[in-house]
């Protein structure tokens, strides 16, 4: 496969993952602002930070309002992580690697782009938001379904999955870091209904507010949330799950190519740590520090994969 094609697949799936993530963050933000009467701007500050676009936002907008924040996350082309930017970048990559995709997968992303271009042509009204968020999630689901249902499990599949999970691990770590950091001073106050909304928003940002209850007590506890998002191997957006998938997809590539790269060592080492360290140990060494290191390491893994498999644009 061309190194350019592998790169295109990897980024196509990173962008699709990011689009969905941005939509989920908006969803969580909207939810919070519905259940609070004041200081909604602070919530959007947290959302923008989770999406890693807080500074970029300030370059475009004067002050922080929920309307501007939503628009910035949803459709601003100057924000490379906005839903529309991501869908467009994902679709452009798909167009370039068209020959590596099944017709179903290509049509799913192309139709997603056609529909979103239409519904995001103008600034969205608050009343339209639930429907828009829903459409993005449904479209992303259709892409995923077409991809899983029709693609041959070969190197094309592996590079696509690697893109998905590098992006997802980054997103989850970032959400946990920002939110947790913001909330930590209030840990002592856990239990009040207001804080429950805040904690729940973390789970909502990763579509895990229901499943959390199946695994832990109904009560939201900081350590359990961290455990769920970092170490739970069954939770599809947890760091441990992402790395389990990264290791297995890299493993298929190693067997097919008959060679291993630095990326294999890095991914396996990280997975080992995610499995062996207890959440108490992580909390002791400092969650913020831990997540910061994780994000750096995840970026390094991305570069190692890119080097090992000769990606280029």
């Amino acid at each position: 496969m061309l190194g350019r094609t592998a790169n295109g697949l990897y980024w196509m799936f990173r962008y699709i993952e990011r689009a969905e993530n941005s939509a989920r963050l908006i969803d969580a933000g909207l939810r919070m602002s519905l259940t609070r009467s004041e200081a909604a701007e602070d919530d959007w500050d947290g959302v923008l930070q989770s999406a890693d676009v807080r500074e970029l936002y300030d370059q475009v907008h004067e002050g922080l309002t929920s309307g501007d924040a939503i628009d910035f996350l949803l459709r601003d082309r100057t924000n490379p992580s906005s839903v529309m930017s991501c869908i467009e970048a994902g679709r452009n990559n798909a167009r370039m690697v068209r020959t590596a995709l099944t017709r179903e997968t290509w049509e799913a992303i192309n139709e997603c782009w056609i529909e979103m271009k239409g519904s995001l042509a103008r600034r969205a009204k608050t009343t339209d938001m639930p429907e828009i968020i829903d459409t993005i999630k449904r479209r992303a689901g259709l892409i995923r379904g077409a991809f899983h249902g029709t693609m041959l499990r070969n190197e094309i599949f592996n590079f696509s999955r690697i893109g998905t999970f590098i992006e997802r691990a980054d997103n989850t770590a970032r959400i946990l870091d920002v939110k947790y950091y913001v909330l930590l001073p209030a840990v002592s106050a856990v239990g009040s209904s207001m804080d429950n909304v805040q904690w729940e928003s973390i789970l909502r940002s990763v579509s895990a507010h229901r499943s959390y209850g199946w695994v832990y007590d109904a009560e939201l506890r900081p350590a359990n949330i961290a455990d769920f998002l970092i170490a739970n191997g069954r939770m599809p957006r947890s760091l441990a799950y992402c790395y389990d998938k990264l290791v297995s997809n890299l493993g298929y590539l190693a067997r097919e190519y008959g060679e291993r790269h630095a990326a294999h060592e890095t991914a396996e080492q990280t997975l080992g740590l995610l499995r062996s360290q207890s959440i108490a140990e992580i909390m002791d060494q400092g969650l913020h520090q831990y997540l910061k290191e994780f994000i750096n390491q995840n970026n390094r893994l991305g570069r190692e994969i890119s080097d090992g498999y000769r990606f280029y644009q």
């Binding site: 167009r95 068209r98 020959t99 192309n110």
Partner: protein, 464 residues
């Protein structure tokens, strides 16, 4: 579709019955459905020079153009004869030049032509094939009366529309394909791959590695390049993916550099090799011409084939066909005035309002004058252009093209069409039954180019 006595023409009889039984609203809904299918599949093209040049659809008309098996056989024989002559001509002018020595074609017309590549002199491509893929543009003026408009021996496009039009028709009206015995076109990508593979360089071991070379996603025909690579199951590459290493053309893969045996290029000669041709080309591969001349890669179509479909050479096609096949051409050439000849120029200037004037190297319907529909002012302006560079133009009479029906708001209406059958050349000549029918959607218009508001139709050749 209809004879003068208002009975349906024979190949249309079954279709006509079906059409008469259709609810018009259903057909209009189907028309919209077709558009949706094309858009979601991404069968779009970019129009150069438009501000919003993002992505446009070529209008699709859902009434098929139907050709009887008998008429097709005669047509196919004529095309085959012509394609064989084209290859023989190319081989000759890059070797012994017997046709020039026999005085049938002026030497300067060949050797001073920009499309004649001195780099090809004395070189014979693998299998002796120059034009692997040809798209002969043909118009019909009446029963068994066909004229060749152009030979398109460089990189003819549009074959993806032929395939997608059929696919769409089969999806929307399966019953029509039970009622009519339509010869299939779907195996074109397989035939193309086989044909290309069979002409791999002599030293190639194992299964030849084929790739399609595209200028990239911003090219107007990118969809087609991706489509063909996909359907053939071969790599789609850009110039920047390729490099000449150790005398081979290699592509940058996830495993390192891997050699290519056959390159189906969809970039023009000029851009193919910046070391040999245009030094500013970013689309090509530096040094590929050396690899080619050393016999280590097959390029389809061969560089330098442009000389054979040059519009000035076109006017000599009857002589060319006769010279190499020893027979009279089966297909007519449109009478052509070469404006480089003073007497012809005089005639053309005097009869501008009756003629179609084209640029010798033009394509896509750009830079031409259609006399009968042009205003006096347009004719006068064109006359000035003609006088300043006569050698740049040829002129042809407007033919009374036959029409086929299309769906319009008020029912059906006749429109002018042309036909581009696709021909594959290897050790044999294979002609796909059918081809691309382009239709001038504007009433009375003769210009069928998609860049000028033309549309397409599915083209059926019936078994009989």
């Amino acid at each position: 579709m209809i004879n003068a006595d208002s009975s349906p023409r024979q190949p249309y009889s079954t279709y006509h019955q079906w059409y008469a039984s259709q609810d018009r609203n259903r057909l209009i809904a189907k028309s919209k459905e077709a558009e949706k299918i094309f858009r979601k599949t991404g069968i779009t093209f970019a129009v150069y020079g438009h501000a919003d040049s993002s992505e446009k659809l070529i209008p699709f008309d859902l009434i098929p153009r139907i050709i009887s098996g008998r008429e097709w056989r005669r047509l196919a024989q004529g095309i085959e004869q012509r394609v064989i002559a084209l290859n023989a001509f190319l081989d000759d002018i890059y070797h012994k030049q017997e046709i020039i020595r026999a005085g049938r074609i002026p030497r300067e017309l060949v050797e001073k032509n920009d499309t004649f590549l001195p780099q090809m002199i004395g070189f014979r491509p693998p299998g002796g094939v120059y034009t692997h893929i040809v798209g002969t543009d043909i118009v019909r003026t009446g029963e068994d009366q066909y004229y060749v408009l152009e030979d398109n021996a460089r990189t003819p496009s549009g074959v993806s529309y032929m395939l997608e039009n059929r696919e769409t028709m089969m999806q929307m009206f399966p019953e029509l394909f039970h009622q009519n015995r339509v010869r299939p076109v779907e195996n074109y990508p397989n035939l193309l791959r086989q044909s290309l593979s069979s002409l791999a360089p002599a030293g190639c071991e194992g299964r030849p590695r084929v790739a399609v070379l595209t200028p990239g996603i911003y090219n107007s025909a990118f969809y087609e390049h991706a489509f063909l690579a996909d359907m053939m199951g071969v790599e789609l590459v850009e110039g920047s993916d390729l490099r000449v290493i150790d005398g081979r053309v290699k592509m940058r893969t996830t495993r390192g550099y891997e050699a290519i045996d056959v390159l189906y290029r969809r970039v023009d000669d000029d851009f193919l090799d910046p070391l040999t041709f245009r030094p500013d080309s970013a689309l090509g591969i530096p040094g590929i011409m050396d690899v080619y001349r050393a016999g280590n890669i097959t390029i389809a179509n061969a560089p330098g084939t442009g000389i054979s479909d040059d519009k000035a050479i076109y006017s000599y096609m009857p002589e060319i066909v006769e010279f190499y096949t020893g027979r009279k051409p089966l297909l007519e050439n449109v009478p052509t005035w070469r404006c480089s000849e003073p007497e012809s120029l005089k005639y053309v200037l005097e009869h501008l309002a009756e003629l179609v004037v084209k640029e010798v190297h033009g394509s896509g319907g750009y830079g031409m004058l259609v006399g009968p529909t042009a205003t006096k002012k347009e004719c006068a302006a064109f006359a000035e252009k003609l006088k300043s560079r006569p050698g740049n133009y040829i002129a042809q009479p407007t033919l009374s093209l036959s029409t086929v029906p299309i769906m319009v708001n008020k029912g059906i209406a006749p429109r002018h069409v042309d036909l581009r059958p696709y021909v594959l050349v290897s050790d044999k000549v294979q002609i796909i039954p059918g081809g691309l029918t382009r239709v001038a959607l504007k009433e009375g218009s003769l210009v069928v180019n998609s860049s000028q508001g033309g549309g397409t139709k599915d083209t059926w050749v019936l078994e009989d």
